[in-house]
Symmetry: C2
Subunit: 312 residues, 2 copies
């Protein structure tokens, strides 16, 4: 029973693109419910400018009000020094920094070149100075929706620069669902060879239906940490109508069926997942919440008993 | 570039559960469009009683009107002797027989015990007497939604009984999306060891999001034949709201990205897939038709050019 560690990103990555503001009470209640499910980590919110992401303008309040369960790490996204200060004040267990491995995507998403992002994040890492563990999420590691191919060597070079700055972990993100399993296998092999000391996390989207196949390739390659978003919340502005992040409950259901120890109480998680359409006000892509677990059986139609007798 | 062979089942397995009758003209036009895409096989229709499946009551007419492309096999589902006669008259290239490996599912679906189904199908095989190749699709090979576990040994025993009768191929069906990748790997290993001479096909559903992960496990195990349903059409009466069969275009897109030779012209296939919502009158689960292929890039937002200059 190999242990797999899940990081739930629905309240940050998932909520961030929702059009309707989700009340602070709902956010706190959802994080509290998730805390009872057995996650290794929960990305609670983002200490971004309230103007940039109005949905997460209540980050300080949410972090102050959640009920922390021992053993769960509460991480927050941090874009810059100001965000890092707020995150430290809020006693986040980890700071998650973010930049892209594609210049065009970094410009489009963070409004500055990669070199500027790297300089800013380096400053954050220096200022935090080991008081709180730092993770870096690298976007577009398997391709950029505007540039196309992102060479594996470029991704590995960014990982190395952050590893050299002493970060605890790096998340390799397939931001818009472009990865395929063979690519994941190659990436994972290279990462494990060169950065065995880093906490390596994979972050997949299901934009083109390959999310759980990519997760399988990651697990087969020895990766034990994954991001997931409850209900499959989240998405990609370049693929309207397509799925977003991989659904945590679908991923966890699959790994549990395969015999992995995810640490998650799946019935409890599914009960929370089934609240998601109410919380966000629309249907969500997750499948297991609709279909039930594999072991949730159905009664046979009534005529079957009569047929059994007839043929006895 | 290993060759993978796809069997398209949308017009049979997919259409079968649609509530609104799809006009014969639409069926013929769809099969003709699919014939141009590079499939190895197309399951055109079913020679079932028109009362049992009114949707496919036009089976003889559809088979008579389609334009056959050399190299594509046109297969049909056949439940009994009468169906076999109609299929032979219609010059089907293959007869696809079906029974379940779960007694309860066989009673619920075919209204008779497995032993009776086997006897009836044996009679069909004897009567056809090698004039046309025969495939047998075995339902519930990875679990039954009513009984639960279906032992692998039971499945292998059914495969052996049909192999002994001289059928050309057997399709191992995950009828309601209960399979997980580790189970698929075990099943495939056992099948390859014992039935290397049979054409082995895997048939997956995406009911719990595991469809393409299971396909990956099958490909990794050396299987080269798969069923798929365009748009992900089809479904499972026990999981309302959940996905049905794996989407052909999503599966083919993934395998092509991984470097497999699927024989399929993907842009042509996606053009057909994008017609599916019009044909069936509702949204369909396939993702790639919505998101585009990985290599279909998007223009950068206009402000990116200005940013590039500003930071130059």
């Amino acid at each position: 029973m190999k242990r797999i560690f899940f990081n739930e990103v629905a309240t940050r990555d998932g909520f961030q693109i929702e059009p309707e503001f989700i009340p602070t009470d709902s956010k706190v209640a959802l994080v509290d419910a998730l805390s009872e499910c057995g996650y290794a980590k929960i990305e609670v919110t983002s200490f971004t400018s309230p103007k940039a992401i109005p949905m997460l303008r209540d980050a300080d309040e949410v972090m102050g009000r959640i009920r922390r369960v021992p053993g769960v790490e509460y991480t927050v996204l941090v874009p810059n020094l100001r965000g890092a200060e707020r995150a430290l004040e809020a006693r986040a267990d980890e700071l998650n920094l973010v930049m892209s491995t594609s210049e065009t995507h970094n410009l489009a998403n963070l409004r500055m070149p990669m070199a500027h992002s790297f300089a800013a994040l380096s400053e954050v890492i220096q200022r935090v100075d080991g008081r709180t563990p730092i993770n870096v999420s690298l976007s577009c590691c398997f391709g950029c929706p505007m540039e196309g191919e992102v060479p594996q060597e470029s991704v590995l070079a960014w990982v190395k620069r952050f590893a050299d700055l002493g970060v605890r972990g790096v998340t390799i993100c397939d931001t818009t669902g472009m990865a395929h399993p063979a690519q994941v296998s190659r990436m994972v092999e290279a990462l494990q060879q060169r950065f065995a000391q880093l906490q390596l996390t994979l972050h997949f989207h299901n934009t083109r239906g390959m999310g759980l196949a990519n997760l399988l390739a990651g697990v087969q390659g020895g990766i034990t940490r994954f991001d997931g978003s409850l209900g499959g919340l989240g998405g990609c502005p370049y693929a309207p109508g397509a799925s977003g992040n991989i659904s945590s409950e679908d991923a966890i259901h699959m790994l549990a069926a395969m015999g992995y120890d995810t640490g998650i109480d799946l019935p409890k998680l599914l009960a929370v997942a089934r609240q998601m359409p109410n919380i966000v006000g629309h249907e969500v892509p997750g499948q297991v919440a609709k279909a039930g677990r594999t072991e949730d059986l159905h009664p046979a139609p009534e005529f079957v008993a009569a047929l059994r007798e007839q043929f006895a």
